[in-house]
């Protein structure tokens, strides 16, 4: 690895480390919940390794416990992960003409936190080449992902010994908020977030998690529209 790529990797590692604080309780919580639902340690760990997507893992766990049909369990959990197609699409142009095997590895490690960090770095961090971006991304993944597996084991083993008073359930929403709040720095971003919240609550009863996908689509269009309107107004002001 070149010197510049190495320093990008270390930057990613450093900026990923704070998220370990929330990945551990989040992953442990999954292990605890799975054990309580009667899953074996091998099953909890396998799901954390093969899926690495907390929200969908909890969704699958919940629906399996509710004895939902297998197709519904899988489709609903996949729907929760559809946002990652949008992550994938927005990351692809930043990585450019990198070899397929590198993009295949990035795809496996594309989780909310690594994606959030690499996009935040794009907005506020140093300018990077595609190779440096991959190095930075792998740094964030190296800091975050192993803890996801380890915490699942820990939670599955510790089981019910973790007191409910720690309110670890709420570490999950706080993590998501911490990931998007720094991006709320322009009117289009704020408008998009507002529509996302309002629509997700309004469409919460839509089955199969489709409400979230509808809300996300509306919010994206809102952000793009507000941006276009602001640009047009600015152009008119100049004229």
């Amino acid at each position: 690895m070149s010197h510049r790529n190495w320093s990008a990797f270390r930057l990613g590692l450093r900026e990923g480390l704070p998220f370990v604080l929330v990945i551990i309780p989040f992953g442990a919580l999954f292990g605890v919940a799975a054990t309580e639902a009667g899953w074996s340690l091998a099953q909890s760990l396998s799901m954390s390794i093969f899926v690495i997507a907390g929200a969908s893992q909890f969704t699958a766990l919940q629906l399996l416990g509710d004895h939902a049909p297998l197709a519904i369990v899988i489709l609903t959990s996949l729907a929760v992960n559809l946002r990652m197609a949008m992550y994938s699409a927005s990351l692809a142009p930043l990585l450019g003409a990198q070899p397929f095997w590198k993009r295949a590895i990035v795809a496996y490690l594309l989780v909310d936190q690594t994606y959030g960090l690499v996009m935040a770095n794009e907005e506020t961090g140093p300018r990077m080449t595609p190779a440096e971006r991959i190095a930075y991304f792998l740094g964030t993944a190296a800091a975050i992902c192993p803890w996801w597996y380890a915490a699942s084991i820990f939670g599955a083993v510790a089981g019910t010994a973790i007191p409910a008073a720690l309110a670890l359930d709420f570490a999950v929403p706080i993590t998501f908020i911490a990931l998007f709040a720094p991006a709320l720095r322009s009117l289009p971003h704020i408008a998009a977030a507002f529509v996302s919240v309002a629509a997700a609550l309004a469409f919460a009863a839509v089955p199969y998690n489709l409400g979230l996908l509808i809300a996300a689509a509306l919010a994206m269009v809102t952000g793009a529209l507000v941006e276009t309107l602001l640009e047009r107004r600015r152009a008119e002001a100049v004229r």
Binding site: P18, F19, V22, L78, N81, A92, A97, Q98, D169, T175
Partner: protein, 111 residues
Amino acid sequence: MSMDARIWTVIALLGIGTYLIRLSFLGMIGDRALPLWATRLLRYVPVAVMPGLVAPLVVWPPATDGALDMPRLLAALAALLVGAWKRNALWAIGAGMAVLYAGLFAQSLLG
């Protein structure tokens, strides 16, 4: 199908499906540039998805069986405001958890 087999089936299919979702554009498009309208939409993916994912968990927390909970609501607001102000995720997490624990402590004193 036994519960064990159901769990392993979900692990395998959800794992494969999730990987294919992640690989979708990274694998196919590669170095091809997206059109302007697409990049304009995709810029808002994080703020379009994550607030919507979080909102029901804040307003109807599973831990309280869906009843609005003041400590959790205030913790979410603290994380949001501090995160937007400091532009830093760790500050947001610290503020959110601090307000959550302070709120739960106050609630236990009052309750």
